[in-house]
Symmetry: C2
Subunit: 236 residues, 2 copies
């Protein structure tokens, strides 16, 4: 029996955007998929409903794949694929498989010869990089920076020097309730001529993407508290 396909299904980044940012292809896959691995069943159901595809959610099976899921549990959740059933992965926001637990399912699929099909859609990292104006010939994503003040300062100086040496744009994120603290640290620690791109609330009505030297950000008050934000720096 042919195996099922593992579809990596993008979610929205901001409320009430599904009907404008989600492609016909994603809608078609969701219309035809009955088994999902999701980070959060409630929000995944809400997302599917928001697409207005007439999906009967009672016929949809959802298993939880989050950062606490073991490899053994992932193997068990992937069984339907071995029996020929397609499975979709949906994250809390944006594209599954990048800096999120969906990658565990994908790695398992490659081990078992299951076809992986990533679908195009919103990604805050990628939108931020497009909108930053940095060349993108070389870029790196570093996830979360250390929280400890000294370690964070060291990490930021390393990002700056590597950026200069490799002509590389350096992306990172923070838990949204700590964004203002991170911004404070950035303005204090980074060199004044380093350029910083702040991309907040991407795809929402109040989306903002601005790239300025650190020296100018110091004169430009911005509140990022609890607002999903991507930070990118580049030294020149």
């Amino acid at each position: 029996m042919p195996k099922g396909k593992l579809f990596l299904i993008p979610n929205v980044l901001a409320e009430n955007t599904a009907l404008s940012v989600i492609s016909p292809q994603v809608k078609e896959v969701i219309s035809n998929t009955k088994v999902y691995l999701v980070e959060n069943a409630r929000t995944a159901r809400r997302y599917i409903s928001s697409l207005k595809l007439g999906v009967n959610l009672e016929e949809v099976q959802m298993d939880i794949l989050d950062k606490s899921t073991s490899s053994e549990a992932v193997a068990k959740m992937m069984q339907p694929l071995l029996n020929g059933t397609d499975v979709g992965v949906i994250s809390e926001a944006g594209c599954p498989g990048i800096a999120d637990p969906g990658a565990l399912a994908v790695a398992y699929a490659h081990q078992k010869g299951i076809q992986v099909v990533p679908l195009s859609g919103p990604s805050s990292m990628f939108l931020a990089l497009m909108g930053s104006g940095f060349s993108g010939q070389s870029f790196a994503f570093h996830g979360y920076l250390p929280i400890d003040k000294k370690e964070r300062a060291l990490a930021l100086r390393k990002l700056e020097s590597e950026s200069l040496k490799e002509k590389r744009a350096q992306m990172f994120m923070e838990t949204p309730f700590r964004n203002n603290r991170l911004l404070q640290d950035l303005l204090q620690i980074l060199s004044p001529q380093t350029k910083l791109c702040i991309a907040k609330n991407l795809t929402a009505a109040d989306e903002l993407i601005l790239t300025k030297p650190v020296s100018e950000w110091k004169k430009f008050p911005i509140d990022l508290h609890k607002i999903p934000t991507v930070f990118i720096l580049q030294s020149f």
Copy 2:
């Protein structure tokens, strides 16, 4: 007068996919935009036509923004924005602004306080990363590797050791007609246990994404000649 917005408009990666992978939002922006910066006017027109939006291409103005365009020329092309007209940027394939000349227009927009609006759509790098099964907690894109045999070997060993140290997935590309040569070099130079993801012809009917240790790729013949491909390696 309020300034226009600079829309970063994704193009397709593969032929005959526009109607399935392009979102309603992108279609709406294209319906309302009359001035574009494009890498290639012929293919940009073909892309817009393929969306079947009833756009009259004779009313559409296209300036060429490619790797040979000077900063002065970019400044001139951006004038309509200062006069309140929206401008769209369309690349040869995928998302503008990342590893492509669109970044010049975006950088200029940030200098002049012009709002930049990146739109979600297909990106071969991002789809490859999603589909690789590498964790994506840390990743870097390196563009093209050196062509010289010795320099390339050095670069690959550096990518491997950095990958191990930083737990980082390392992405790179090659001019499609040199893909088979690059693959040969990868299999010869990389450590047998390094994992290599090859993502070819993304979004096309014969798309293929496979992640295997180098030792297994050596037993798995694959032809990448002239086929758009993203390569990702990770050492463990």
